[in-house]
Structures are given as C-alpha cells and as structure tokens.
C-alpha cells in the first residue's frame, strides 16, 4: 500500500510508467532507470513519518563548512555512519555552537535521499551536545538535591501581592508568550505598569542571561511581582529553566516571582524555586491579576455607596439630635412657665372671686341677724304687748317705785299715746 500511495502522491512520472505496464510486467523483474529507482527509493523515505522528525545521537566527524555556508559531516557510532547536511540558515542560527569533530551530539532533522549521489542522508535542523543525553535523570538528581537543601520549601515562598501595580516580565521580547501575557494583563488589569526585561529563553547561554534579566528587574526596585515565562517547547528547549544557578537566583529574589514555563505538564526547577508556579505564561499573568479591574470597579462602587450612606446617616443622626434638642428646649422654655403662671392667675382669680362672694354672703347673713336682734330690743314691741314706760318730770325712766314721791306728776308712755298722771302712793317691795 505504502508504495502505491507514494507513487500516486509524489511521482507522477512513475505513475504514468506503471500505468502502461501490464500486470505481468509489474510483478516480474523490472528494469528501472537509475533515476526512477532513486526517486522511488526517495519516495519511500519521504513518506515514512518516523523518518520525518527524529533525533540521532552520534559522534561528529568529517565536518566541513564550504563557502556556501552549508555544513556537511558524518555522524558515527561504534556500528555505523550517517551522512548529514545542515543548511546555511540552520548553521547560522547555531552561531558559535556548532560542534567540532569528535564531539558527541544529538542531531534533529529528517532523513532524505540525495539523488545526485544516490545517498540517503540526514538533513539536520539542530544540533546539541549529547551530554544532555539523559535530561530527565539529571533533572531528577538536581531537583532532589535542591529539595533536600530546602530551596523549594513552602516557608520560603513569598506571598504574591493581590494587586501588583508594577509587574516585571522576564521573557523573550518577540515571543508569543510575551504577547499572551500582555493580552491577559491588558484585559484583566490595564492599570498595571509593565516592565519587560528581555532575555533569550533557550539554549546554553540562556541561564546567565535570564538571571541577569531577573537581576536587572529586582535591582530597579520597582516591581511588586515578577513573572518568568516561556512558551511551550521540547524538554531540551525548556532545559535552561532547569539550570541550578537560575533556580537559586529565583529562590533568592527579593521580589516575589511567578513562573510560567512551557505547558501544564512541564515542571522545571525554576517552577519549583518560584514563589508560585503557573502552568503556562497565560496562567502566570492570570495568577498575578486575580484582583481584576472589574473587582476594582466593584470596590469603588461599594465605596461610593458607603460614602453616600454614611453621609445621609450622619444627616439623619444630626436631625435626630436636632429633634432631641428641640424637645429639651421646649421643656425648658419660659413660655411654658408663662403658660403655667397664666393658668395659676386664672385659678387664683377664680378662687379669689369665690372668697369675696362668700364674704359678702356671710356679711349679709350677719346683717340680717343684727337687724333681727335690733327688732327684738325695740321698746315699741314691748309696749305693744302692754308694757308702759314711766318717766319722772325731768324725763328719767322710773325703774324703782321709791324714786318717786307721792303726788309727783309722771309721764306714762303707752303703745299708743301718753298719759299724764299723779302718783297717789308709793309702795316699796
């Protein structure tokens, strides 16, 4: 199947040739041209996905970089050799890091066929020292050592400020990770000031550069928090974040550090040393902006409501106090005493009137009594009952018989009229 597919897809000339061959011809010994056969073989190589992206470890030999800038070398180990080529652009991107003959390297690239020479060879895109061979084992060893040393201890972790105003970013200046972070910050907390400290985030030389970038930020003394981020990549790509010096620098930072290196499944020593590990750069940006601009809006709205409430409460309290004072004032007012006095006057007036009236009545009664008594001693009434008043010639009322001598003329007053009489005899008691 593979063969037929490859013919159909990639080799129209061959397909044409096959189509005019009879079945007999196709399944019996075939005579090929060298060119066709080589192309056919090349098709086999190029359609095997396992050969399209692979790593090969071996020792570099026969390295040549002619004027074209392309690099040609052989990788070999104890049992075999593999011809390799690396195009100029990839050579340039390796700068000073091209291996020299005899060095053990891991090459990454694909396997293809160079028809002109009839050789299969490896087209290398990257080379790195093979010393990193067992990255995982080295990682675990270093991690265990730093862990034992207490570098990752929870009590060493500094708290991440809830609302950092100045955010330091350590990452590559042209990276997608940086854009991801900035997008999150712009959306969640655009009030922040962001200070980028650019650094390469890949390769042998990266760790000291990352440390320097970090150091520049902490020395500026401006950042409330620093995030160290890098987008996803292979274990080798992220390896610089497993650098012991970097882990120590992160642990020693005065400013809290949040790491976000690679993807969720990638754990680097930088992550363990950081105060907080975010699974990705985006997540790192989110973790330092847990208090968002919307939360801030809510806070300010709440403050505004409280402000109005407190003020109106203070007014209400004042009104209450005014009411209280008015009440007190009313109670203490002279008006009330004046009113009291008025009432008392009325009361007294009433009482005075009554007293006067009763006095008058009393006097009337007494007067009547006197008049009656006067009536009782009026001699007329006595005279009316038959008594008489006898007076001597000089007018004195005669009360004793022997005050008068016989023969004396006396005047007798009766109820009606008077008598003039002469006394005949005197009889004493």
């Amino acid at each position: 199947m593979l063969l037929v597919d490859s013919c159909r897809l990639d080799f129209p000339s061959l397909r044409v040739k096959l189509s005019w061959m009879s079945d007999n011809q196709r399944f019996s010994t075939t005579r090929w041209s060298v060119r066709d056969l080589t192309r056919y073989v090349r098709g086999i190589f190029e359609t095997d996905y396992r050969l399209q992206d692979l790593e090969v470890e071996g020792e570099v030999s026969n390295l040549r970089i002619p004027g074209s800038g392309h690099a040609y070398f052989t990788l070999k180990d104890a049992g075999a050799e593999l011809k390799c080529v690396m195009w100029k652009n990839d050579v340039i991107s390796h700068r000073n890091e091209m291996p020299s003959n005899g060095e053990k390297v891991v090459a990454r690239g694909y396997i293809g066929v160079y028809e002109a020479q009839g050789v299969y060879q490896m087209y290398c895109r990257s080379l790195r020292p093979a010393g990193l061979g067992d990255l995982h084992a080295r990682f675990e060893e270093l991690k265990a050592r730093l862990l034992a040393e207490g570098l990752f201890a929870p009590e060493r972790k500094r708290p991440i400020p809830l609302r950092p105003q100045v955010i330091g970013i350590v990452t590559g200046s042209e990276t997608a990770a940086l854009q991801d972070v900035l997008n999150v910050l712009r959306r969640r907390y655009p009030l922040a000031r962001v200070i980028l400290s650019p650094t390469p985030v890949q390769g042998e030389q990266a760790p000291p550069r990352i440390i320097a970038a970090l150091d520049a930020l902490t020395r500026s003394g401006q950042c409330d928090v620093i995030i160290v981020v890098r987008g996803g990549g292979s274990l080798e790509d992220l390896w610089c974040f497993n650098d012991e010096r970097l882990a120590r620098a992160i642990a020693a930072s005065r400013v809290p550090i949040v790491s976000g290196v690679g993807h969720e499944t990638d754990f680097t020593l930088a992550d363990f040393a950081a105060d907080l590990r975010a699974p990705t750069p985006t997540a790192a940006a989110e973790l330092i902006t847990q208090f968002t601009i919307d939360d801030l809006r809510d806070d300010i709205e709440a403050l505004r409501v409280r402000l109005a409430d407190e003020f109106s409460m203070s007014l209400i309290e004042r009104r209450r106090r005014i009411d209280m004072a008015v009440m007190h004032l009313t109670r203490l007012s002279p008006q009330r005493r004046i009113n009291d006095a008025r009432q008392r006057i009325d009361e007294l007036t009433a009482r005075g009137g009554r007293a006067v009236r009763s006095q008058i009545m009393l006097r009337h009664a007494r007067l009547n009594g006197i008049v009656k008594a006067l009536g009782a001693i009026n001699p007329d009434a006595t005279l009316a009952r038959g008594y008489a008043i006898v007076r001597s010639p000089n007018g004195d009322i005669v009360r004793r018989a022997d005050d008068i001598n016989p023969g004396t003329e006396v005047n007798i007053r009766l109820h009606h009229g008077r008598l003039r009489a002469t006394v005949n005899a005197v009889e004493s008691d």
Partner: protein, 71 residues
C-alpha cells in the same frame, strides 16, 4: 494632595474618607466637604479605570506605547 492624585492615592483617600465618615464625630461642614471630596474621588477613580491602558516599558529604556502596533 493635589488636584489630580494618582489612582492609588485617590483610592486610598476615598477609603479614608469613608471610614472617617463612618466613625462620625465630624462637624457638619467637614462631613459635607468630605462627602463632596469622596464623590469627586470616586468619579476620578472610575474615569481612570475607564481610560486605563497597560503601560509597557523595557528595562533600561524609556517607556514605549504598547498598543501602537496592535488592534
């Protein structure tokens, strides 16, 4: 504090004003002026939030506009 305090200063002052009003014991004139000041600050804070744009600087260089090449 000047006419245009920073956002953080404005927010801190607003919080301070509210808690001072809460404790009471202020002269009427004072609480009235605090109230007015608080309203001004709240408005100011909201304006800052509405107009906020992320400021990006690079260490060792002067501030640069962030959004000039985007959106």
């Amino acid at each position: 504090m000047g006419e245009n305090p920073s956002f953080e200063d404005a927010l801190a002052e607003l919080e301070d004003i509210v808690s001072r009003l809460e404790t009471g014991d202020l002269a009427l004139e004072e609480s009235l002026s605090l109230f007015e000041r608080g309203q001004t600050l709240a408005t100011l804070c909201n304006q800052v939030l509405d107009q906020a744009e992320l400021r990006l600087e690079q260490i060792g260089s002067s501030p640069m506009p962030l959004d000039s090449t985007e959106e």
